[in-house]
Symmetry: C2
Subunit: 294 residues, 2 copies
């Protein structure tokens, strides 16, 4: 697999960002997050001003491709895209949603934030609530947290026995494979931040009364389990970065880099889909004549 | 009730737009859409450049109020807002969604486009699918079409007997009253366009191959029923513009005016809600100390 230090060495040039950030190449070996620098700039802009400009420049092509994807669905194209965002508290999942979805037409974009499961959700298999939130043909779905919580917090907090967690890795892989076969492009992004960066972000939330609502003292308890969470993420990246639905690790200590990188990953996948406006399934001239007459 | 010619006479000055565009004042009499000029500029900007600037200036206050609404919900505030958009084909419902929702954080904004009911939806009462799409506390919900289709196309196409349509007006009023009592601010907007304007918009879609996907020859059949639809809208405005959940008629022949007016209506309602960031329900200094130590 590509290693953090290797990726950090040079700029991308013509290499797609997805090649640089993808975990494994179908047969991922052991993953150690220690090899991934959360403040790295493996490709693209190298300072904040350039990063913000590069991110802003993605808005127009993203909006254009989204419209074509949406239009294609009206012609029977079933393809759609699901962006899964995971990361530790304060890693910027919400901020990324805001930034990446900002230029998209909200009518074709389904954002779902997964919280602790409700009573109704707990009565169903863990993938039930995820299935209900999937994008429909032509849509872009964005998950802020996802079914991966069921092998992350569930593992760290031992909410289910270890053999159930083991089984879930396989169930997730089978589930995502079925999605891909059904026309869903699955883009899974781990927003990787450092332990010190998280401390600073939590302290900043405490500094500002208008950010207190984002703070939960429970976050401090979760932070104490940092090593266990990092290990749970490593197992996820090892077990569930498949050829059909790979994981991407985005260095997320710098918000401007994170925003650019996730937008860029989304753009690369949409460009590959290359959706087309459907041809008219009606007689354009006859319709024009009827409109002018009536 | 306020009449089109009266509203068009002068600029608003200090009068809220909602006062100018609201149908009826709790006891609406007979409504005739002929009295409403679809190209009027009843208040606010009076040319395209000014309209676009005024609409753009709404983005920041709208985003700020949305964040406060969302934040307030984390403190137990159950309030939320539902924007219902109705109008004839090409009246700009989709464009309005794009414009109004653009500056909002998509994580707190639920957009639902209601199409012809699916087989599953037809097996349930007509409000069933609407209930499932309602905004949760802190959210802004936007409906592109809505339960009003069940007294519009259902009336015009006689999909149900007249007595069922009659009953539905009352059911809708009771349903919306219950929403309001539960903390939902219901803002219902009729995008009013003229018959000739619709012709031009349909013709423009035919002119551009990248707009053909938006065209449905069935739209020409619907257009032949224009008078029946106008009458169905008049009955809706008469029967369902209640004190709790009034209708607003927005002149929509000019896109820039429509965008500004709907944004402005949304802003006025959010300003009235005046949501507040919740106070911290935890000891800020103790949390800070724990974060610095650990």
């Amino acid at each position: 697999m590509s290693r953090g230090d290797g990726r950090g060495a040079g700029k991308a040039g013509g290499t797609p960002l997805r090649e640089l950030l993808r975990v494994g190449g179908g047969g991922a070996g052991r993953v150690g997050l220690g090899a991934y620098d959360s403040s790295a700039l493996p490709a693209g802009p190298s300072d904040k001003a350039a990063g913000q400009a590069a991110a802003a420049a993605l808005a127009e092509p993203l909006a254009g491709l989204q419209e074509r994807l949406y239009a294609a669905a009206t012609g029977g194209d079933r393809r759609r895209l699901l962006l899964v965002l995971q990361g530790m508290d304060t890693s910027g999942k919400g901020g990324t949603v805001k930034h990446v979805a900002g230029p998209l037409n909200p009518a074709g974009c389904r954002v779902t934030s997964f919280k602790a499961p409700t009573a109704e959700e707990r009565e169903h298999p863990f993938l039930w609530r995820v299935e209900r939130a999937l994008p429909r043909p032509g849509e872009i779905g964005i998950f802020d947290r996802s079914h991966y919580e069921d092998v992350l917090i569930a593992r760290v907090r031992a909410l289910v026995p270890p053999e159930v967690v083991e089984r879930r890795y396989e169930e997730i892989n089978a589930f995502e494979r079925a999605l891909v076969e059904d026309g869903v492009t699955v883009v899974k992004v781990f927003l990787h931040i450092g332990f010190e960066e998280q401390r600073e972000r939590l302290l900043r939330r405490l500094d500002r009364p208008d950010k207190h609502w984002k703070f939960d003292p429970g976050d401090i308890e979760e932070r104490r389990l940092w090593p266990a969470y990092q290990e749970a993420y490593e197992r996820v990246l090892e077990r569930c970065s498949t050829a059909e639905a790979p994981w991407y690790v985005v260095p997320a200590d710098r918000k401007w880099y994170r925003n650019w990188a996730v937008g860029r990953l989304l753009l690369e996948h949409l460009e590959e889909l290359d959706p087309r406006y459907p041809a008219a399934a009606f007689d354009v001239e006859a319709c024009r004549a009827r409109l002018i007459a009536g």
